[in-house]
Symmetry: C2
Subunit: 114 residues, 2 copies
DNA sequence: GACTCACATGCGTGGCAACACATATGCCTA
DNA sequence: TAGGCATATGTGTTGCCACGCATGTGAGTC
């Protein structure tokens, strides 16, 4: 693997993944799922989104292979396919905090980069 | 730090970062910059995009703090603020290859996940 | 089978983002 | 200072995406 292997990154595919993660609500859904499987109703309650909207986003995440759905009775449980995604999100967030703090709350105070 | 610290991720800010990275051309620009500083004209040549478009995307990246601009004569050189971003991109791409291959080329053959 | 609950889907709408064209600005050279 | 090159910016258009409403489907209960 050459040093500048990032020049050969599949930009298009990677961008498609980022597009999925670029939606605050979708990201919220992913994070609120965490490590466990939860029924859609729990996700709706946890996020405060409408049922239509949650279903819409779950479909996108499911079709992209980020989450999987399992029927249990009349409930459909959703969970992450690979929870390591959350670690990557945290890593990226650590980087962001240092680098592009934008709107960030530090010890209860808003530090807006004007 | 609790185990489920990802439930406290600043979803909105993180999504904003992903939004920047969700544009194939913008991602291409970032990757093609690599570790060195390059003038806009080089980026234009490297990406094949129009001057307007490159300038447009560079502005977004600059205002987000992902890249910095330096004037040298009549040229403006752009480079990454923190090249560790590329490592994160690679990590995320490795994850993606395993997990959401979507449209991926392996040894010249398209392996479409139908 | 009728009713209910959990979830999915089709359709229409509004808003935003990428892009191109034209033009402005800044720097250099002669 | 005139002219040309490098880059930025303003405006308008187009296309896509998130969202809500209404409705469909599938499972469980009686």
């Amino acid at each position: 693997m050459p040093i500048d292997s990032f020049k050969n990154l599949p930009v298009k595919d990677l961008a498609q993944l980022f597009k999925l993660l670029a939606e605050p609500n979708r990201l919220h859904i992913l994070c609120s799922m965490g490590l466990e499987c939860r029924p859609v109703s729990a996700i709706i309650a946890g996020t405060g989104l409408t049922q239509t909207n949650v279903s819409f986003h779950l479909r996108a995440l499911r079709e992209a292979g980020l989450v999987k759905a399992e029927r249990h009775g009349s409930f459909v449980f959703y969970c992450l396919y690979d929870t390591r995604l959350l670690e990557l999100l945290e890593a990226l967030n650590d980087w962001r905090q240092v680098h592009a703090p934008s709107t960030e709350f530090v010890s209860g105070q808003a530090t807006q980069a004007s």
